[in-house]
């Protein structure tokens, strides 16, 4: 194990200075996520337009560098994606964190893939996987208008 794999520069940068942090007026979808084991919390806000495209996305929350960086990178990538693309990216990311060695989707460029792959370091730290995936599960919940809070201990 190498800590450098986990705490890559991209993660430290996004962890310290998360992009799209905050809340905006007139969001039309949102969801909360919570990891009761460590207290990480995230609240994702979306503005989805009539073409089912995310025209704006922000998040509020607090947590470790991994969860903050994951939320930050996720919100950067999701802007201007439509529902189908959002689903494809979420699925691709979660599969990469779980089993796949890399990302398959053609929806994002190499730079963005590098950013996302910087989160792959958590694979060697099973207890930290939930830190990376919490914002993504919360995004799913917001997109699908699921009632209630995402809870990492109730995932299937």
């Amino acid at each position: 194990m190498d800590l450098k794999d986990l705490y890559q520069e991209i993660i430290l940068d996004h962890g310290k200075n998360p992009r799209n942090l905050g809340k905006f007026e007139n969001f039309n979808k949102d969801a909360k996520g919570h990891n009761p084991l460590c207290g990480d919390k995230v609240h994702v806000y979306l503005k989805v337009d009539e073409n089912k495209k995310i025209s704006d996305i922000k998040f509020e929350g607090h947590g470790c560098a991994i969860s903050m960086a994951s939320a930050s990178i996720m919100t950067e990538l999701m802007k201007d994606k439509d529902q189908k693309e959002v689903n494809e990216l979420i699925e691709d990311f979660l599969k990469m964190i779980k089993d796949n060695p890399d990302l398959k989707s053609n929806l994002i460029n190499e730079d963005d893939k590098t950013k996302l792959m910087s989160l792959s370091g958590v694979k060697k730290y099973p207890m930290r996987v939930k830190c990376a995936t919490l914002p993504w599960h919360t995004l799913i919940s917001a997109m699908t208008n699921k009632p209630g809070e995402v809870n990492t201990e109730k995932d299937d």
Partner: protein, 405 residues
């Protein structure tokens, strides 16, 4: 046996963690086990195993004697009046649930109040919470002060004519505050309020004397006392164990069972339904022997010295903020680092073989009060040394370097 080279009595320290020596600073969570305890479990299963308290064959009689022998060891260790005041449970959590459930059932009614503190571990809050729904009782919280302490006055302020029981921790697992429980118990008793003490952190580190404390209930977690998991002890004054109803029904706890009715067994069987954690109980006897051989006063002194040293070096480290500075502090060092989340601290420390805990430590009420989502916590045991704390400090500096580079 000498505390200075006690590490060698614990086989876990023969192992490397990420190619480093293990620096175990998570004893408030669970302590490591000395070889005598591990061996006792092996020996019992390989040479002496039988169920206890039922059959009359050779092994059953011997196992029963061993099992009951631990009860007496515990009784003497905590200076209880009678071995029948010692009930084995599956953990301190079950011990507190037992009291909340049976006491609630028999004595509480709508509008009654239970007093706990903001320092409590979830296991001394959640069991009482159920009584809100089933009995309509109210739970009050004594305020923790800015030092992470609970004063006698803060308890007194929250006592009302409706307060029916007081449940307090002996030693906070976050701020390290050692509560003046003897005075608190005297105060409560002067108002006819019985007291349960959550002794999870007290029992492994402090000399106990139930008769001197005069508490009504004291809950102990054996795995935090160099003993096996799956085992706890409830000390309760005999009068309570006689008055309260049984907690669980099953084999071993009965007197006579007929179709039209059941009578219950004598103490302590009344509260030990089903086959108990026999091997763990017997091995826990070795944990007590281990502590007795070293002397709990010596352990206290050793840990106090280390805690002081740890506080000193962490105070000198400008990036570290220690959580809680109570008057009387146990061997718990909770802290935060500017700009580094406790979870990240724990992962980075782990790489150096330094095991700490990060999170809310099952004390969300306290963390909310402190305005913190999480803290990092180094907690000490008999096997820790100043070198361990130096390593902690140097690994903390590594965290700061990674996050500030």
């Amino acid at each position: 046996m000498n505390i200075k080279d006690i590490k060698k009595e614990f086989p876990i320290f023969d192992n490397k963690v990420h190619n480093n020596d293990l620096v175990y600073l998570d004893s408030a969570n669970s302590s490591q086990k000395p070889k005598v305890v591990v061996d006792r479990i092996y020996d019992f299963y390989t040479k002496e195993f039988s169920n206890v308290g039922r059959s009359v064959h050779y092994l059953a009689v011997a196992a029963t004697n061993l099992y009951e022998n631990t009860r007496v060891l515990v009784q003497k260790y905590i200076n209880a009046k009678d071995p029948n005041e010692i009930v084995f449970t599956k953990g301190a959590t079950e011990a507190i649930n037992l009291v909340a459930n049976t006491f609630g059932q028999k004595y509480l009614k709508e509008g009654d109040e239970i007093l706990i503190t903001e320092l409590e571990h979830h296991s001394n809050y959640v069991p009482w919470h159920y009584l809100r729904k089933s009995k309509g009782v109210k739970i009050n919280f004594a305020d923790v002060d800015e030092n992470g302490d609970i004063s006698i006055e803060s308890i007194e302020k929250k006592i009302t004519p409706k307060t029916k029981i007081l449940a307090i921790t002996h030693l906070s697992n976050v701020t390290g505050a050692i509560l003046p429980i003897k005075e608190i118990i005297q105060l409560a008793h002067s108002k006819n309020i019985p007291v349960l003490v959550d002794g999870c952190q007290g029992a492994p580190h402090l000399k106990l004397d139930m008769q001197d404390l005069d508490c009504d209930f004291y809950a102990i977690s054996c795995h935090k006392m160099y003993g096996p998991t799956g085992l706890g002890v409830l000390y309760a004054k005999k009068k309570w164990l006689e008055e309260l109803p049984p907690y669980q029904g099953g084999g071993g706890m009965i007197g006579e069972v007929k179709k039209e009715g059941i009578t219950f067994g004598d103490l302590p069987n009344k509260y030990e339904a089903g086959t108990m954690a026999t091997a763990q109980v017997i091995a826990f006897g070795e944990s007590i022997n281990f502590i007795n051989k070293l002397g709990i006063e010596k352990i206290e002194e050793h840990e106090r010295e280390l805690t002081k040293y740890g506080e000193e070096i962490l105070r000198k480290n400008n990036s570290v903020k220690l959580i809680g500075s109570p008057k009387n502090k146990g061997s718990v060092l909770s802290f935060t680092l500017d700009g580094v989340h406790p979870h990240d601290i724990a992962t980075i420390l782990d790489e150096d073989g330094v095991a700490i805990r990060a999170g809310h430590h099952c004390c969300q009420i306290l963390h909310e009060k402190l305005g913190l989502a999480a803290t990092a916590r180094a907690s000490l045991g008999v096997y820790n040394t100043k070198d361990d704390l130096d390593q902690l400090n140097s690994s903390i500096n590594k965290c700061i370097k990674i996050f500030n580079s």
